[in-house]
Structures are given as structure tokens and as C-alpha cells.
Amino acid sequence: MTISHYLTASAKKYPDKEALICGKKKFTYRTLNDAMMSLAGFLVANGLNKEDRVAVFLDNSYEAVVSVFGILQAGGTLVLIHPSTPAERMGYILQNCEPRFLVAPSSRFSQIVDAEKVCTTIPTHIYTGNDDIPISAFRFDVACKTKPINDKNIVSDEDLAVIVYTSGSTGKPKGVMLTHRNFDVVTDAVSEYLENTSDDIILDFLPLSITYGLLQLLVTFRTGGTLVLEKGFGFPYEIIKRIKEEKITGFAGAPTVYSIITHLNLESETFPSLRYITNAAAAMPYSFIPKLRKIFPTTKIYLMHGLTECLRTTYLPPEEIETRPTSVGRGMKYVQLSVEDENGNRLTSGQVGELCVRGPNIMRGYWNDPDTTAKVLRQDKNTGEIVLRSGDLFTVNDEGYFYFVSRMDDIIKSRGRKVSPVEVEDVIYLCEEVLEVRVIGIPDTLLGQAVKAEIVLKKGATITADQIKAECKKRLEDFQIPQKIEFVQSLPKTAGGKIKRTN
């Protein structure tokens, strides 16, 4: 089933049911379906061809939801860009995937112009909001009133649905290519183990620009439930209030979110509607579980593992959390998992190796990057099947339960996002005063890992930590900017003169 079919099917079954709640505004499945069909009609009428990219630079909103489904219904490929992405990084993404259209708020016009300075071809702009826009651009609300696309289904399961840009160890963002089928098998498996139905009211405060946030929307619409979409977890008590007001039945979080929740004063609160909470993006610290149990005594807690390249791999059945609190569970439906050495030999119980994934959830590859794709997608030496090398170190026990050990490379996971040390180092090295820099992750109860930069300055040079952070701010997203900066006399090096990642 293609992704936009989730909305069409639910609109047929539950036309007048509330599908989406954004703040005080509520939208039925019928309203969203009509907007989707019109936006798709607009895109096709204005020259969108199958698998043409359409970049969406919006925060969590009605417009973002309509864009997701409208673009996919038109046969386009979605490129979701997080709203805090700075111009330079955005410019790289736009130049890399060459979108035909860009949907963005009119209030961000000057940043978009900045980002597009590096682009060879400029996409057609579609703006939300009321600010003035150039004559060559279109307004989103007008596009959503265009003649709808005809019902003939032009999209197939194997078509490219979404490109998600993620930090890579090479430093530049990589575009993970995911098909309709990738999402379809994952939303099917996830909705089955979470037991989602049309009675569910799911809260989503994770950005739609990351797959964990996007999956909340897709699973909810697939099962005909209601999605309460928030712009973030910035005001935790407001989120708590929303859970109670809207009678939320499930939400997804990362350890940074659960860390905040366990520090709130919630002793007098009860959450009778809340059926489940899920954790992914980083391993849940064991110490959080009894605290969450106390706050949500009747709520199921699901620990899960996934990576952008295959969306989701495992989940731990909630009834096993007390007996196996450090496990992320077993492989979910459709997915075959193994722990293998670098030559593709399967390792036995307790041995540490790389988690390898086989199944219909595996990405098509990295956009315009066959070399990196070949390193990550390999052929099984016996069966010829495609195997995704996850880059995560794991062990598996005799009963098939998986235990996360660490990332194989040095990617730092901070605030549930991936930080490539090389990418941050590259920016810090732009400061003339810096001689050497090493960026590492250090344990942090709130962030998972905090980003720390250790810097050796050139002789006689002076620069402050704030000036370095300001330089980073120009070129990096917030979650990539080091929280800690230490000036050191020297850094440890290998015999070949390479700075070591560990002391």
C-alpha cells in the first residue's frame, strides 16, 4: 500500500472523524483528503514528474501534514528539512537533491534565498503564511484549492517516497532513500505490536522531519486514529496538560524527553487514558524505568531500536521490561536480524558484532552516493540477499534478544539526534586560531551525550569559547553545537599522526 492511501482509505471509512489536532484547530479526514488531492493536482499541473523531489521546510503543522500526503499522492519524493537547519546546511541539501518545489513559511524567505546561493537550479517556491512573496512563487492555500488530481493511482510501492538527510561519518549529510514499501511494512509491524486502532489519540511532539516523528503520523493515519501534533517538547507541563485534555492514548519519546518527565512534579497527576509510551533514538537509561513506572503505573513502556536506513528493527514486549530492562527486544515482523563480524559471519550468543538487517524495510541507498551505499548495503555471501550493515554494535542471546553496545563509528547521539564529530570539527577548524580539535561525546543525563570540543590553539592566539560557538551557530544545527569547549595543550595521536578519538 502506498503512503497516501492511508489518508484516502481512512477518509472513506471515517470522513467526519477528527484526524488532526494542531493547537486549537481540528481537521477531519475528509478535509485533509481534499487538501491532499488539491495539492497533488497543483503539483502535477505545474510540472511535477514521478520521483521529482519536493523539499518541505516547515515546522509541525497542518501545512506540513498536507504537504507530506499531497506530495506523495502526486508521485513526488519528499525531502523533509528540519526548521532549525541553517542556511549553509540547507543549501547543501538543496544542491544535493535538486528539488523541483520547495514548501516553506514566507517568514523564512531571506534564509531560503541565502541557502539557494549555492544551488545550480532553483526550485519553485510554495509559501505558507501571510508575508509578501515574490511574484514567481505560489501560495500554499491557493495550491490547496486547485483542481484535485484524478483518482488514477500513479504511484507504486517501490517508488521513492522520502529522502531523509542524516549526518554521516564523512561529515556531509547523507540522503537516505526510503520507498513506500519501506514505510508500509514498518507501519504495519509497528501498528500491530503497539495494537493501534481508530480509537487511538496519538501525541506527536517529535519533528516530522525525522523518521521517528514521521512514523507517528503515518501509523495514526493508517489505523484511522487521531493525531495531536505539537511543535516540540519545549513546555513539558503544556504537553502533560495536552495528554489529559485530549485523552492521549500513546506518545513517542527519546531519553532526553523521559529525563525531563522524570524531573517534573507529577505526584498528584494520573494518566488513565495513556495506553503506551515508546522509546527510540537512543538507549533508555535503566534508571529511568522505575521512575516512569511510578508516573505512568498503568501505561505500557516499549523499548525499541531503529535507524533511519531501515526505520525500525526491534521492540521489547512491555511485559518483559522488568526482566530485560537493558534489551531492545527481538526483531519485529518482516525483519531478520543477526550479529555479524566484518566478514559477514554470524556470531553466537554474547559475542559483540555489527547488527545486520535483512528485509523489506531496508532503504534503497544513499542519494547520489553509490560508494557509501556499497559500504552499507552488501550482498549476503551465501544467499545473495541484500544486507544492511547498521554500524551499531550489538550482542544477541540464545533466546534472540538483542542488546545495544555502541555505535561502531564515533557518531555522537545528542538530544536524540546524530552528530558527526568530523562535521563539527570541520567548522571549528574554520577559526584561524585553532590548531587542532577533537569533538567527542561525553555522557550527559539530559542529552544522552553532550558534544564536547577539545581545542589546541595556535601559539599566541586567543579566542573564547563563545566565539567558537558563534562560529558553529552559523553553519551547524543547534544539536550539533558543542555544549562544552575545553582548551587543551595537546591531543593524543596515533603513530600516523591522526588524532585519536579516545585517550
Binding site: 515546522d59 526548521p83 519545549g234 513546555f235 563563545d466 551557530k473
Partner: protein, 87 residues
Amino acid sequence: MTKEEIGTSVSKFISKTFLFDETKKVGENVSLLGTGVIDSTGVLELISFLESTFSVKFADNELVGDNFDSIDKIQNFMHEKLSRRNN
């Protein structure tokens, strides 16, 4: 303290802490969360700055976007809260 003085102090803190540059300004009506100027941990930093600078404590039900999601909203809310205290 006037509303404008509160606004200037908050604006300076946001520029220094989240933009790492005091000369850069965030628009007074811009949603701090929606545009990614601050995230959930940033909100905690902002709240703790306001509590220590203005010697106030916030009740749980005050910690909502309507009070803190833009410089405008913060200065209005803080001005009202400080006026209530001083009367």
C-alpha cells in the same frame, strides 16, 4: 522594571545563549520553539534564567507556550507577574 527593560534583558540572554552572539536579535513575535531557536532543554535554561534574574518562581501551570514562546509573550507575562508581586 518596565516591560521594555524586561524585553531587552530577555532578548540579550536569548542572543547570547542560543545564538552565541549578542549582536544578533530574534524578532519579538517569532515563535522560539517553532523556529528552533530553542528546544526543550533550551526552555529549561530560559526558565532558570528568568527565575534567577527576576527572583521569581513559576507554578507548573504557568510554564506554557502562551507565556514563553516569544520575546513579546515573555515580556508581557513577566511584567504582569512582577507587577502583581509588587502590589
